[in-house]
Symmetry: C2
Subunit: 290 residues, 2 copies
């Protein structure tokens, strides 16, 4: 089903505005990028399916180990055991939270990487409150410091990152998904290795833990179970979805950014400042029919 | 049940960090502010109860009409008919979205108000990307322009605001709740008149509409129904919850802000910039036993 997407996600709090928003669906004519099934996982939760794109460009070791674990069925039957409303949903075997240690190798920190001219970077905001510059790289929100030459994935809602202990190289299996306002202060302190491209509503349905226990859900109380995670490439072709995301290097996406920065619609009586929060810019996803 | 609250909502992605976070629960000793039952509504959804604090200080006309509608049972049985994942859940009778017009009076725009020295303002960030200054006023995130003397409630996740058409004074019944990264560009363009203080997980469970239809959910397809909304003051005392929120003018809350700005824990290997996103600072809620 090849349908237009509300890339603008304009307020459209009225029918009038809705109608005004529609013709501007620039992403419709945009080039779309088809996800590589070798870098896409499908996570089945009781509430539905979550599609996650992995990012080996920023987290090669983490992605490689995560895919190995997925293929071994490591996560199947485990659960989200620490879920803080408005913050993160953390899942895995709990080895990272005082459970029995497992024997999976610890991962090196992949918090940032050096800039390289072949990164498909489109600038969004310069400066941003948390970074000298923000932008997108292949649909992933990123921070960049042109002075130091560092570039990193940033903690927008729906990113997938490796949990760890205090030391940088102590993540191995358990991961979290951000489910609230972007905790950007975590940037460059944890390894972001993927992002949810479809099924964020399913993620938002994950059972929360009690606030007084910092979101920890005791065994024996209901937790959202990870029924299974499977690598796209391991699925028979006909069970695989043709998942496409907006090509953030396209002219259509540049137009999305422009129109969001310059709010010219009659709806706006107070003109917003011409700034963009990179975490509030939607990157459209569509499931295309083959 | 008088329990400590994770006001810090620290990463605590590990047991170690969790333990470190615990002794810092400054809000525990904090003064709490008890909600006024006359400014508190309980919204019953199929997934549970949502507690909303109203804000007559910023939106007197809107709050007054909303309470009248609540008391008339206007919303009972209506539904959330436009729900965009990561953006807003909009509910009401749909009159605002091309449905039958209703005869409820249109509301004046209450987008901002003049500064007054009796506002209980605690500063959070100056400047912020979207406002010369941000802060909290009685638990509500606010923007402030000291130069113009304007102050306004800001579109953090969980705010409740009146939908409208293009003209400023065209809202009357239908409202939206923000469910994703703060759409701050809407600030000063819509009337925010409340915020969810409890049950945000229930709000996140509201059924989403299709992206291609800009979140509009056609009649006949499943929508989340508003079973009823009731004013706290209209409930028998024993059905009323003793809802308390962190007193954002307290020294304990000032300490929360300080500790979030200066991330001194050994967990942080890259020191985050000393800035705060007002929408990412949790304001604790607790349901106290009488």
């Amino acid at each position: 089903m090849d349908h237009p997407i509300d890339v603008f996600r304009l307020p459209a709090l009225s029918l009038l505005l809705l109608l005004q928003a529609m013709p501007a669906a620039a992403q419709d004519q945009a080039s779309w990028r088809t996800l590589d099934p070798a870098q896409t996982v499908y996570m089945q939760l009781p509430g539905g399916e979550v599609v996650i794109e992995l990012n080996p460009q920023f987290a090669p070791a983490t992605v490689s180990q995560f895919k190995r674990l997925v293929r071994e069925g490591f996560y199947d039957g485990l659960s989200f055991y620490r879920v803080v409303e408005g913050f993160v949903a953390q899942g895995g075997d709990g080895s990272d939270m005082g459970g029995e240690p497992n024997d999976v190798p610890m991962l090196p920190a992949e918090f940032e990487r050096p800039w390289s001219d072949d990164l498909a970077f489109v600038s969004v905001q310069k400066p941003d409150m948390f970074a000298p510059q923000t932008g997108f790289i292949d649909g992933f929100a990123a921070g960049r410091d042109p002075e130091s030459g560092d570039v990193w994935l940033t903690h927008c809602p729906g990113i997938v990152a490796m949990a760890r202990n205090d030391e940088p190289d102590t993540g191995n299996t358990d991961f979290y998904i951000t489910i609230g306002q972007a905790p950007r202060y975590l940037d460059r302190n944890l390894t972001i290795f993927g992002r949810v491209v479809d099924g964020m509503d399913v993620v938002q349905g994950i059972i929360r833990g009690p606030t007084e226990a910092n979101g920890m859900i005791e065994e024996g109380t209901p937790r959202t179970r990870i029924e299974r995670i499977v690598l796209g490439a391991d699925l028979p072709a006909k069970e695989r979805k043709n998942v496409q995301v907006a090509d953030t290097m396209s002219e259509a996406f540049a137009e999305v950014l422009r129109s969001r920065k310059e709010r010219g619609l009659p709806f706006f009586h107070h003109t917003p400042p011409e700034v963009l929060d990179v975490c509030q810019v939607p990157v459209a996803t569509r499931i295309a029919s083959d």
